[in-house]
Symmetry: C2
Subunit: 386 residues, 2 copies
């Protein structure tokens, strides 16, 4: 009898739950070619599915929460997440305790791994869709670094017409966040697509964008840490993973290696008025540190979900004020609900009162994730070099 | 007593097996940053490892064989493959019936999926390692296709010095195989690295390489097939997956869209003497079909593990003989052990006897895989446009 009651209760709950779920599931835009799953519905829920006939437990792991999936008679597991924010999220599946990429998804680098990602449709997603407009290109470039004593790897966006013209262009150096890499901005960030669309609409001036790696900088002059000893039989952990750089170390690479390489190999207007530095999260903090310690190098500064620049910062960096043309600060609205320390809106407003050109942008309905940063680039790109 | 005997037998077998396995495992070059597994030893075996504490069965699936892995007391599964050929192989893990990418590996597109790949060190691997030599770059390009009525995506290699010079360059159009995409050659094919090294050594003349997608060509003028109905509860299958193109259809895109786009946007010597077409497997068959039906368009032909061109082919393609400068055919040695139909060495030798410039290259110890094709590009690039 007890068993019967439990069964009825669960069925009613299941019915109640299903009545609330919009049955308008569509394959995600981030799926691999020809894959139906994962899907997204109009409530911004994610439905994952995988064949795992002998598994005891399969979970969808997204947004820091693991959702139980259920098995049908054919061994196919299906499960839904709670509603997610619009935009891009890293996720994975967990099969009997193994955390693995979902084979249905394209692969993205973030959370310190190549793995699955999913895009939840956003009302403003048009700005990062490929369109039949004049196309720039994103190039993969290897170069020698004197700081690390090794070859390094970056991506360079050049706008439409670059190859045909003799014009010189301004340059934005654009950095990713912790646990990410130089693949972030050209990949899930859609940098090239956003810029091509903006330039085609006349909303941004054409400029070059350099996307490098602010984390993993191993080489003869900066060797990789030795593997850590681990208890017998325990799974190998990453060899510390990429180390966060002090802004000084990444600043060294940027100033001594990256900027000279770019100014040698590309048609660039090589002065501070035509040089911008921006980044998201850790990349924003690096932007702050590098621009304040090199106050005459970058006239345009963007920090996306990565702190702010205070009146005191500027006072302690002689030349910064006179040289600067814009301090752009942005956050996702969810990040501003409980700001740690001084609210960056207050810090930025105070800086503005001293006569500096500041801008504060809020990405509505998003958190510390890529939709905030795609939108931040879209806004920043319309203000920079103008 | 029976139990005891079985136990002893298994232990002896385990000891015998372990005595034969070289204990010089090293992380694969294709691993994700900071990951120890998968590993490779000097016998070219692959050792995979994954934490899956609740799993009942985990297998390493490589080279068409599934190898059982075993669990230790911490829930870590480890297993070894038989020796593999040198070079690159696609693989995956199978966890309680679910086939998934190994989270230890970088991700590659092949076997109609983004998934894991592993490189087994090769004695000649130096030719595809990044070196401190003048660097070209590989660019990601979107362009409009009149044939498909949609935007398409390709990669373009430009050699070192391209951006600084006013020179015009020859162009090689280089195609992937079945189940692969435009990501193959710039990814696991290491096209840019191979070319930079060859050009730096003076072994190849500088030329541009265009790497496009010969399979998935959906758009308003060529719509994706509707999803197939499937039995209730069965796992979703790819919506037919990418369709193989007839050479005619890919030939249309190449002739009408890709070549005009390249000759408009790049500094190119736009005649057949400076235009080459090559491809691997299906891309080799496309090369044969397209070059024979457009006999005055490409003077240099490369077919890697993808058939050969016969005397009869040439007789039926007026103009091909007079226009052609090289017919280059290659295979992995393992593919030639049991050739289907006429041995391509015989076909090529017969063509050579008619006075055409032919070359036949054999990649030693490799099969229908990327090491054969990396080596084929390395050889072909030293002969083309000379």
């Amino acid at each position: 009898m007890k068993k019967f009651i439990i069964s009825v209760t669960m069925s009613l709950a299941a019915i109640a739950a299903s009545a609330q779920v919009a049955n308008d599931w569509k394959p995600a835009a981030t799926n691999q070619e020809g894959h139906q799953y994962p899907m997204v519905n109009s409530q911004r829920m994610v439905r994952a599915q995988i064949l795992a006939p002998e598994a005891l437990s399969v979970k969808l792991d997204i947004g820091g929460v693991k959702y139980e999936m259920t098995k049908d008679e054919n061994g196919v597991w299906t499960g839904d997440s709670a509603p997610q924010d619009v935009g891009f999220h890293y996720y994975q599946l967990n099969i009997d305790g193994a955390s693995v990429p979902d084979p249905g998804s394209l692969m993205y680098y973030g959370a310190s791994r190549w793995g699955s990602g999913i895009d939840i449709p956003a009302p403003d997603q048009d700005f990062y869709q490929v369109k039949n407009v004049p196309q720039g290109k994103v190039s993969e470039v290897y170069y020698w670094s004197s700081v690390t004593g090794s070859m390094r790897h970056c991506y360079v966006y050049t706008p439409a017409g670059y190859d045909q013209s003799k014009k010189k262009y301004p340059v934005l150096y654009l950095q990713h966040g912790m646990g990410e890499s130089e693949y972030g901005w050209p990949g899930q960030g859609h940098t090239g697509i956003i810029m091509d669309n903006l330039i085609a609409e006349g909303k941004a001036v054409p400029f070059i964008i350099v996307m490098d790696n602010g984390l993993a900088v191993y080489g003869p002059n900066n060797p990789r840490p030795a593997p850590q000893p681990r208890p017998q039989g325990q799974q190998a952990r990453p060899q510390q993973g990429p180390r966060p750089l002090s802004a000084g170390a990444f600043g060294d690479i940027l100033i001594k290696d990256i900027i000279p390489m770019v100014e040698k190999n590309y048609r660039v207007i090589a002065d501070s008025k035509h040089r911008a530095l921006a980044g998201l999260s850790m990349g924003g903090m690096q932007t702050r540190a590098i621009s304040l310690t090199n106050p005459k190098t970058f006239s345009w500064i963007g920090m996306f979900s990565g702190g702010a620049i205070s009146v005191e910062d500027v006072e302690n960096a002689p030349g910064f004020r006179e040289n600067n043309k814009l301090v752009f600060i942005s956050y996702g609205s969810r990040e501003l609900e409980n700001p740690r320390g001084t609210d960056p809106r207050v810090t930025t407003a105070e800086l503005g009162k001293t006569g500096m050109n500041t801008a504060f942008y809020v990405s509505e309905g998003t958190a510390h994730e890529w939709q905030s940063w795609r939108r931040s680039l879209y806004e920043f790109a319309q203000k920079v070099f103008k």
